[in-house]
Amino acid sequence: MFDDFFIRALVAGIGIAFVTGPLGCFVVWRRLSYFGDTLAHSALLGVTMAYTFDLNIAISVFLISSIIALILIQLQKKTNLPGDALLGLLAHSSLAVGLVVIGFLTFIRFDIMGLLFGDILAVTTDDLLVIWTGGALILIVLKLIWKPLLASTVNYELAEAEGLNPDRAKAIFTILMAAVIAISIKMVGLLLITGMLIIPAAMARNISDSPQKMVLFSIIGGLLSVILGLYSSLEFNTSSGPSIIAAALILFILSLFKIKQSIKLKN
């Protein structure tokens, strides 16, 4: 069944959409889209590490992204630079270092376009295993920290006062972000992962009135984007990442009509 590259890509994409849906909601709520970008850019360094030392790409990307997240936290504590400047510094320097390292690795033929924008031909049966077991683990952990994470998203002091340990939830969430980037990089590409996180969630925000509903619609939006995007990628011979994100954008535009309606109803 998994012999067909397209079926493999479809199964991989569906697995990714189940994870990016709920995580994307928190990225939107907590205003972390630039943070997601930074981790994704640093993933290129992770990929070069994987080739250099012959490691699994997902594990290598996960390690490098986690390290970058830790460096960011340290820099925030020790410097007076604003958060967005630090994020930009880390995003672009890790991307640059990654590209420089690729330049040195002349013995390996790199498909840079595939890395940046995703490549459905690249998905192997092993990748499916990584995506589905990794994805299941991410969702289980997210379920466990759901209450403290949501409570501290609404109000940090309330969560802290009532004993929910929001700092721990935040730290765990950062690791989950690194993990979701690691499992989706091959499929979506490192330049577009943040789009996969925030566009379905933004679409869901337009049509939801509770956190749970937004998560549900975000997953559904992600699934539809993956299915639509991959079929059109096959049909028009376009990169998988841009096709998926473009499909997500169409769903987002459709969701705007729902807002228009509800505004009309209120008036």
Binding site: V28, W29, R31, K147, L150, A151, T153, V154, N155, E157, L158, A159, E160, A161, E162, G163, L164, R205, S208, D209, S210, P211, Q212, K213, M214
Partner: protein, 248 residues
Amino acid sequence: MNSNKNILVKLNNAGFRQSEKWLVEGVSLTVEKGKIVTLIGPNGSGKSTTAKIALGIYKNIEGTVEKYTIKVGYVPQKISIDWTLPIRVYDFMLLTETIEDSAIDEALSLTGVIHLKNKNLGSLSGGEFQRVLIARAISKKPELLVLDEPVQGVDYTGEIALYELIKKISDTLNCGILLISHDLHMVMTATDHVVCLNGHVCCSGSPLDVAKNNEYKALFGEKASQILTTYEHKHDHVHSDEGEIKKN
């Protein structure tokens, strides 16, 4: 150790400093089960800071805080909610603890906002939101309630009803309450212990004792103290406009 089993939270000479400026220092107080302790004082006197020290929100504090309960309900003074998050009153009630529907309905009815249960939190008025905040804090049947100006923005009749409710909750749930309030009438009639703050503890004791205190009068004016007494005694320091202490 906790020698008295009724103690819920105890501050020993506690203080908090933010970038070299003391927000409050040298506060000692105890909240026990079934008792209401009220913090009074002018703006910037460290009332909210003291509450946050008691709640454990501030970590690097001077002195010590001993807390003997984890069942805490908190109504913060300022709460800013980010409206990128779609959230109804019902979801907000379940924010920090999973509680039964019947308990949610009961708490919302007590504060008079049951009709708003399925409304979006962002669509509420200030007073309505304040009632929801109180309902959320009491619905989890806490052992310790910390209320930071809980009735701000509530209409006058509602204010009285809510203060009566707070008094009733302290009796029925036998929970300890740390209250910050500007309503001196409420403070004087329903409170067991009053702590008057102005960067440090100016005076403390029963409402009657505090009303008699000259520092209290200096802070709140003669009228406030006439609520209960005209008793006068000699005090050993006054406050400058900056709140600094000057010995007489």
